[in-house]
């Protein structure tokens, strides 16, 4: 038992390596927040493209659906490895794109952002879609019959209602995204997993990884509670009747 605690929960060891692990977690946080925001926007763009009306835009809808299917279907880790190993070899790209070092962040950071945004954009597009499709068809008809274009109707009528309904599932995806940033350790980004696992292999003590895991919990647990709260509020609204929307 003592051995078990020493291996995984050595408090003194954690204190000694706290700053290192926290530095790694800071990288993780930046990666998660930036990718999360980009995926939120990219997913909304994809969902909107998917809903474009008319025969002429069929190719756009088809390509969007193909994109979403493909990137939901392939493992994020493979995509990270494909991008990080492939893009720097593309000689026709300018060096600032092949080996991006923007804002003092290494190329592995940016490759990670790209891969996560591509994948989670596809996931979030599906979440937005479920929200858009849950808005009754009469809303679009009412907006169009008042002379609004499809785009105006989406912006002013459909999306404000749809997004409100999907805030909780989007947050769920963000929690998953935050955990998946650990995969970027495979291309040598010094985020929390890589930092902690290096400490583990040097010292044969796993407590730094445990510490990293605890840092994740500090972030993900409140988010999970928030999701629960939002869902129960949404259900409360549902049982009271029509949705009540104070401000959005």
């Amino acid at each position: 038992m003592e051995e078990f605690i020493k291996q995984f929960f050595d408090v003194g060891f954690m204190v000694d390596h706290f700053d290192e692990v926290l530095d790694g977690f800071w990288i993780t946080t930046q990666l998660a927040v930036l990718s999360g925001l980009l995926a939120l926007v990219w997913g909304l763009i994809l969902a909107t493209l998917r809903q474009l009306p008319g025969k002429a835009l069929l190719p756009v809808r088809f390509l969007t659906i193909a994109y979403i299917d493909v990137f939901r279907g392939i493992p994020l880790l493979m995509l990270i490895l494909l991008i990080a190993g492939g893009v720097p070899a593309l000689e026709f790209l300018p060096e600032s794109l092949r080996l991006p070092q923007w804002f003092g962040k290494p190329d592995s950071f940016w490759f990670g952002v790209l891969a996560i945004t591509i994948t989670y954009g596809a996931y979030m597009a599906e979440v937005y879609r479920s929200g858009i499709e849950s808005v009754p068809g009469g809303q679009m008809e009412a907006a169009r019959s008042l002379g609004m274009s499809h785009g105006q109707a989406m912006r002013n009528v459909i999306l404000p209602q749809a997004i409100r309904k999907v805030i909780a599932p989007l947050l769920n995806d963000f929690i998953a995204l935050t955990k998946d940033t650990t995969l970027v350790s495979f291309i040598a980004l010094n985020e929390v997993t890589l930092v902690a696992s290096d400490i583990q292999s040097e010292t044969f003590n796993s407590s730094a990884l445990t510490l990293g895991a605890i840092m994740f919990l500090v972030v993900t647990l409140p988010l999970a509670r928030l999701v629960d709260k939002l869902i129960s509020r949404e259900q409360g609204r549902f049982t009271r009747g029509a949705p009540r929307v104070e401000a959005l």
């Binding site: 009306p53 008319g54 025969k55 009754p136 009469g138 809303q139 008809e141 009412a142 907006a143 169009r144 019959s145 008042l146 002379g147 609004m148 105006q152 002013n156 009528v157 404000p160 209602q161 409100r164 009271r240 009747g241 029509a242 949705p243 009540r244 929307v245 959005l248």
Partner: protein, 259 residues
């Protein structure tokens, strides 16, 4: 009620056909509506009444036939079908208002915002202009004290009156009413019909799909009876409602009135 129709053609429908898959909902409808005329459309459910209204404002563009709005063709004859040609759509939606059975108010906006949104986005009115117009119209439908309420806080009858104000805010030349009292509790029907009656008296051109025989008798200049996707009979309310010529009209009125 005295007819206010002044003779000019507002709407002209010729040979309208509409199909949903294998189901032919409209099988050749011809209808003329004059400016200022109030036409009530009666008929059993599934007779194509609502689809006819939705054809007029191109929510469901007809597959065949021609519609003229103020003497201008809004669907280019047989096979044009899509109705998405933009000038027609804009032309139609700026002139034709519609009120739906299910109200379809925007639940995330207050009563006033429901009435101002399209004024600002579509007509480009300033926020102050749109608000003034919204205030005036909501006042007119008896909801001057509900400007800042959200739809869920309003009764069905109040919501439907907001929906009427919302459509009127766009200064339509024709108003379409698609069974607007069918989803209301009986005690709320009158307040909505009263607003429509007033509108008719002011000379608005209206096509009213309804089951309210009393309203049709009192307000309509002309009653149209539809069944099976065609117009079976039309004429002045007294004639169609009291001494219908067609067997199907008699049957339907018998069912509606005998209970």
């Amino acid at each position: 009620m005295e007819s206010q129709a002044n003779g000019g053609s507002m709407l002209s429908l010729q040979g309208i056909h509409k199909r949903f898959g294998d189901l032919e909902v409209l099988r050749g409808v011809d209808l003329e509506i004059k400016k200022g005329e109030v036409v009530c459309v009666l008929g059993p459910s599934g007779s194509g009444k609502s689809t006819l209204l939705r054809c007029v404002n191109l929510l469901e563009p007809p597959e065949e036939g021609d519609i003229h709005l103020e003497e201008r063709s809004i669907c280019r004859g047989p096979g044009s079908g899509t109705g998405e040609q933009s000038w027609e759509l804009d032309f139609v939606r700026q002139r034709v208002g519609i009120v739906f059975q299910q109200f379809n108010l925007f639940p995330h906006r207050t009563a006033l915002q429901n009435v101002t949104m399209a004024q600002e986005k579509v007509l480009g009115r300033s926020s102050a202009e749109a608000k003034a117009k919204g205030n005036e119209l909501l006042e007119r439908v008896g909801l001057g004290d509900k400007l800042n309420e959200y739809p869920e806080r309003l009764s069905g009858g109040q919501q439907q009156r907001v929906a009427i104000a919302r459509a009127l805010a766009m200064d339509p030349h024709v108003m379409l009413f698609d069974e607007v009292t069918s989803a209301l509790d009986p005690e709320l029907v009158k307040e909505v019909l009263d607003v429509m009656r007033e509108l008719a008296e002011e000379g608005m051109t209206m096509i009213v799909v309804t089951h309210e025989i009393g309203f049709a008798r009192e307000v309509a200049d002309r009653v149209v009876f539809m069944d099976g996707g065609v117009i079976v009979e039309e004429g002045p309310p007294a004639q169609v409602l009291d001494s219908p010529r067609e067997e199907r009209t008699k049957q339907f009125l018998g069912l509606v009135l005998d209970h």
